[in-house]
Amino acid sequence: MSTRPIVAVPPEALRIVTFDAAMEASIAELLPRYPTRRAAVLPVLWLCQERFGWISPGVVRAVAARLGESPAFVEGVVSFYTMYQTAPPARYVLQVCTTLSCAWCGGRELVAHLKERLGISFGEKTPDGMFQLVGVQCLGACGTAPVVQINDDYYENLDVAKLDAILDELAGRS
């Protein structure tokens, strides 16, 4: 069972967020796809993660209020799925596949290298807020192992040198 740590959040993250007109328009587009409002919980959470960067307690309350659910229900959904960020993420979230094909085709070397280069372990962020390291399960791209997903993008057929070049490039972006 995947569990996640409870993180202390600053008081402002508890305050309920407001949805602007663009957000309301996107939600209005989603709702007619489903016969219940509850079914929009996952897609609305995705919209919020894009808009606010993470799912703060204030976002949970806003989603609950908008869709007529209790905050506890929405929080239950958020905590069940691994991809909703429950703390502000780093700029680049490095999701390294740790499952079979990747692990035995260079993935373990990538993990060791990343931990050393960034000086962090799984679940941690670099102090400058640039990189976050996450060990994930099979990403569905095992034929091009090892695979790292950085934010939304897949990077496949990696080795230490290629990954270093990618990180150098990302670190250099303004």
Binding site: Y34, F80, M83, T98, L100, W104, C105, V136, G140, G143
Partner: protein
């Protein structure tokens, strides 16, 4: 064989509607609308198409379970969760030929008279969700979807619904819960989704690859499809080969080729001149096969006869440098992470296996460990849990213990005891009379 599902791979601009139409796309949809739902279902039934998502259930039969007299809406759901370790075929179809999926979804929805279909795609597949959304928009613009499709009087909407990171949402009832906006907790069956599915209505769930076969069956006929492969194991199948082979990738081959052909001929054999040691024939939920079993046929029935399953067609290959205790440990980590937590045998069992295997790998094995693993696995299989994930961790782990027991014994022989205070909790390290296991 001539590529069917992957015919667009390598074609320039293959994702566009123009390229799909040039290759004869949407002809199946037009033909299906003229045939009527029952004739479409009959054709798929006659083709003997079996589900490509894992269980190999006959697709036409599944469609025919939808109650004919149901007064309310019905739903068609396409399973694009693709989360079984070793599986990367649905992504390949979507990458090169998303309209094939849209057309398959449309025909299947028509066959069960569903006016709404959802494609449930894993959250990580951001790019492929966009590709599908673009294809759906294109198809809608051309009148292949929407109100009164091509003057037939049939309405159809297709929506892409993104998951958010949970292997269990590939399981059909967890997937339905997830569409409904909830945590992905599998449901007890019966009732089966064909009777009570998403939003309480009859629902058919099919895998991407299954649905991609459908337009071809409608255009070329059931007999053409049934002539590919072996009796009761018909049609082309996408095999995903990964691990220690020279040419990993997705290969489209008739069902019933042997794993030797797949690994040696198509995937170019074991890399670095090494020897094959073991392979998962159909994702990590399928019991492992040894190098001696490489002549097993890659179809549903031959795999079942060999005590394993074809599953999703994810062939994960290990060479002779691989330590099978570590493989078992990796598998245990996966399932311990992905168990939804509803059933004790699965939630605790996968965790205990992980603890024991971690300890074994760390060099602190104990003599009782192999039998303890087998006992935990026995308790989490054969109907002791709500969904098949209980079996999905238990069967591969027990197959590794049984087939590679010597490697476990070897580690245990050289193991050192754990410092007492770090002893992991093992609630039943010894036999428990009365437990029946």
């Amino acid at each position: 064989m001539e590529p069917v599902l992957l015919r667009a791979r390598g074609v320039a601009d293959s994702r566009s509607l123009a390229a799909y139409l040039a290759a004869g796309g949407y002809e199946g949809w037009k033909k299906a609308l003229g045939m009527g739902p029952d004739a479409v279902t009959k054709e798929v039934l006659d083709s003997e198409l079996r589900g490509r998502g894992g269980a190999g259930f006959p697709t036409g039969r599944k469609w025919s379970f939808v109650p004919k007299d149901h007064p309310g809406p019905r739903y068609l759901v396409c399973n694009a969760d693709e989360s079984e370790p070793g599986t990367f075929k649905d992504r390949e179809i979507i990458e090169y030929d998303p309209h094939q999926v849209v057309e398959g979804v449309a025909i299947a929805a028509f066959a069960i008279k569903a006016n709404t279909a959802y494609i449930y795609i894993r959250g990580e597949f951001v790019r492929w969700a966009r590709i599908l959304e673009d294809a759906i928009a294109e198809a809608r613009q051309r009148g292949f979807l929407g109100k009164n499709v091509m003057g037939s009087g049939f309405d159809l909407d297709i929506w892409v619904h993104r998951g958010a990171g949970a292997y269990i949402c590939g399981e059909e009832t967890a997937l339905l819960e997830s569409i409904e906006g909830k945590r992905g907790f599998p449901r007890l069956k019966p009732p089966f989704p064909a009777v009570v599915g998403v939003f309480g209505q009859p629902t058919v769930i099919n895998n991407v690859e299954t649905l991609a076969c459908v337009p071809h069956i409608i255009v070329r006929g059931a007999a053409w499809f049934a002539a590919i492969g072996r009796p009761k194991n018909t049609g082309p199948k996408l095999f995903c080969v990964s691990g220690h082979v020279n040419r990993p990738g997705v290969y489209e081959l008739p069902l019933g080729v042997t794993f030797r052909e797949i690994i040696e001929e198509h995937a170019g054999g074991i890399r670095g001149g090494r020897k094959l040691k073991a392979f998962f024939p159909g994702g990590s939920s399928a019991p492992v096969l040894t190098a001696d079993e490489v002549d097993t046929g890659a179809d549903f029935d031959a795999c079942a006869a060999a005590g394993t399953m074809l599953g999703s067609g994810g062939v994960i290959v290990f060479d002779d440098t691989v330590d099978m205790v570590e493989v078992a440990d990796n598998v245990a980590h996966f399932y311990a992470h992905e168990s939804c937590g509803q059933c004790t045998p699965c939630r605790e069992g996968s965790d205990w296996c992980m603890d024991i295997l971690d300890r074994l790998v760390a060099g602190h094995g104990q003599a009782a460990d192999p039998d303890t693993l087998l006992r935990i696995c026995r308790f989490s299989s054969a109907g002791m849990t709500i969904c098949p994930l209980g079996d999905a961790f238990a069967l591969p782990i027990s197959s590794i213990v049984n087939k590679y027991r010597a490697e476990f014994e070897h580690r245990i022989a050289s193991a050192t005891p754990l410092p007492q205070k770090k002893q992991p909790v093992l609630p039943w390290a010894g036999p428990r009379p009365g437990f029946g296991i």
